[in-house]
């Protein structure tokens, strides 16, 4: 799959940078 295809598929989720940082914080906290 090309990057263009991946970006097109990801667009539908409408995520923000804050969503990403929160999800990573949560994931790394859970892993500790």
């Amino acid at each position: 799959m090309t990057w263009a295809d991946l970006f097109a598929r990801a667009d539908r989720y409408d995520s923000t940078e804050a969503d990403v940082t929160d999800a990573l914080d949560q994931h790394r906290t859970d892993a500790d």
């Binding site: 799959m1 090309t2 990057w3 263009a4 970006f7 990801a10 940078e17 990403v20 999800a23 994931h27």
Partner: protein
Amino acid sequence: MPTEPSPARVTADADVLAADLLVGGPSRAALDHVREHSWMTLVASTPLLDDAAAVIRTLADDELAQAWRDRLEPECELVSHPAEDHPALASAYRGGAMHLLTLDESLQSASAGAALRGRVETSPRHPSAFDTLFDAESLYREVVGGEYPGPDRDPRA
């Protein structure tokens, strides 16, 4: 044994990897510089890619996370590090990445940067700072030599 540091070697923390896919903006602009130049290297580790994939699964779905990993992993240079290490810091250190792209303000802070520079030759910075400072012509002259021929890869391929 860590790899010799190079300004053409870049590590992106899991937040930047996931934001590249899911958000675009500065993270995508920064990683486009890596994607469109074959002489740039993205350094990562399995735990770092695991973290990014977990974020993608949380915010999107398993299928997209797997497709992203299938596309990205062959293009990365994977390094190993102890499980207790911070995946991005350890990848940058062990893989000789002089640039560490992160959205984590605590890693970008002056004190964190100074502490890191005392031990490793890695500069943590926001992807927008890397995008602004990236100078392909001078970097090409430094790491490859000769006149910069322009991007040699399609960043959307």
